[in-house]
Amino acid sequence: MTSRGDAAGDAAAALRIVGLRKSFGTLEVLRGIDLRLVEHEVVCLIGASGSGKSTLLRCVNLLEPIDEGRIFVEGEEITAPGVDVDRIRRRIGIVFQSFNLFPHMSVLDNVTLAPRRVLKLSRADADAQAFELLRRIGLDDKAREFPDRLSGGQQQRVAIVRALAMHPDLLLLDEVTSALDPELVAEVLSLVRELALGGMTMLIATHEMGFARDIASRVCFLDAGRILEEGPPEQIFRAPREERTQRFLQRVMEAGRL
């Protein structure tokens, strides 16, 4: 592990997390996380429910204030005091388990809201970009519909496209298939796979082990707020070193998800 001193100079890293700690009241949820992603890398976070995966992603997107540690995006410290959080969030997209589309807006307006209001794109330019993105996922014919008219899988794909419309340097995905009916999981995973092939840098919390094995350049096993073990997927899934990782994967296998 690199020490804190040279972390700031590490401009090659797309994302670098150093000694991140986070508590909710007396509950320490993240207990010293160190993580480094280079550009175009896809890292999957696995771990039991409650191990801190969502909290980690929310901290990276500055949706949760952190207690200790530092986070860098392309060499810039985003946890520095006085940093403009809105400017940082523009560069980091996040997609949630529960989609969180805006229910009072059409699909098109969901996708164009941030480009128009934040990037100050004209309506015509924002619409053109949104239609192009929606066409790629085969949902351009749903542009004028409201989210509640779409299936869960379609809603989640729109949520991903909404994040992509801001051209983020880094995309965070938080169990994007966990709220979906089984038959809708594949369409969302194949979109994520496409993004990975396209070179998007991603940090992905997931319960889909087969998917993680497929797509990840590295897998991190999160246990009680620490990255207990990390490595290439073949190693983590075939020959996990840590006993807790073995037990977690055993449980997942018994549940039929590997």
Partner: protein
Amino acid sequence: MTALGGLGPRDRGDVLEPPGRGRRSRRSGQGALRSTAIAFASTFVFFGVLAWVAVNSSGWPLVQQSFFNGALFAESLPDIAAAFWVNVQLFFIAEILILVLALVIAVLRSIPGPVLFPLRLLSTIYVDVFRALPGVLIIYILGFGIPGLNVEGVPTDPFFYAVIALTLIYSAYVSEVYRAGIDSVHPSQSAAARSLGLSQWQALRYVVLPQAIRRVIPPLLNDFIGLQKDTVLVSYIGVVEIFRQSQITEAAHFNYTPYLATALVFLVMTIPLARFTDWLVARDRRRAAANR
């Protein structure tokens, strides 16, 4: 099919018709028709008896003379209608100010952060105080107190103070309605907006408030109804509106019929709005149930 002979006409219809929606709806349609007819008949009898008793009681001529005087009703109606125009103006001007002021207060109270703390504190005190005080008291203090200071440049028109008083009284309530709406929008909506780079204000403006306001339209309409009626309270500070006008007419004739005319005006204005509000609430409830 000899068995059919023993059945009543309604049952036979059931047997002969093919099963399906048509049969069910026709049957319930007949049932609804019958209960409507019964309801009409019993209502007619009930109110008929009531009216008969009232009109034939010994005090009726006196009641009719002082409350239902047809000639005076016709005579006072134009003045009362003209005075009601003042209430209408009061209502619309105050309502617009209330909707704006209350929204500003609700937004101030729901934005976190230490910078706005003084404004948050001020709005909290304002809401507490104005919800605690009787409206008439506020109208009196503002309508008599402030012009009574005789300060140069301070308006003396009671209409002005009436608008200010109603606005201050109702904004306290309406801001709480807005605030409930804002609180009802799940924090994940705001988080989704912020994660896209929208500022706190933009997230509120484009994501939270549109959803919040849509949800509080029925309770807002309920407050409109209250305001519509409370416009008569400003008669105390000398605004000649509908209630003051009916007092004037009453005093001139020693007769209560003008009050009845005023009551009629309010019934005609308020009941449709109240019904519309009920309908909106019922519709929203149905929609919420359908989405579950």
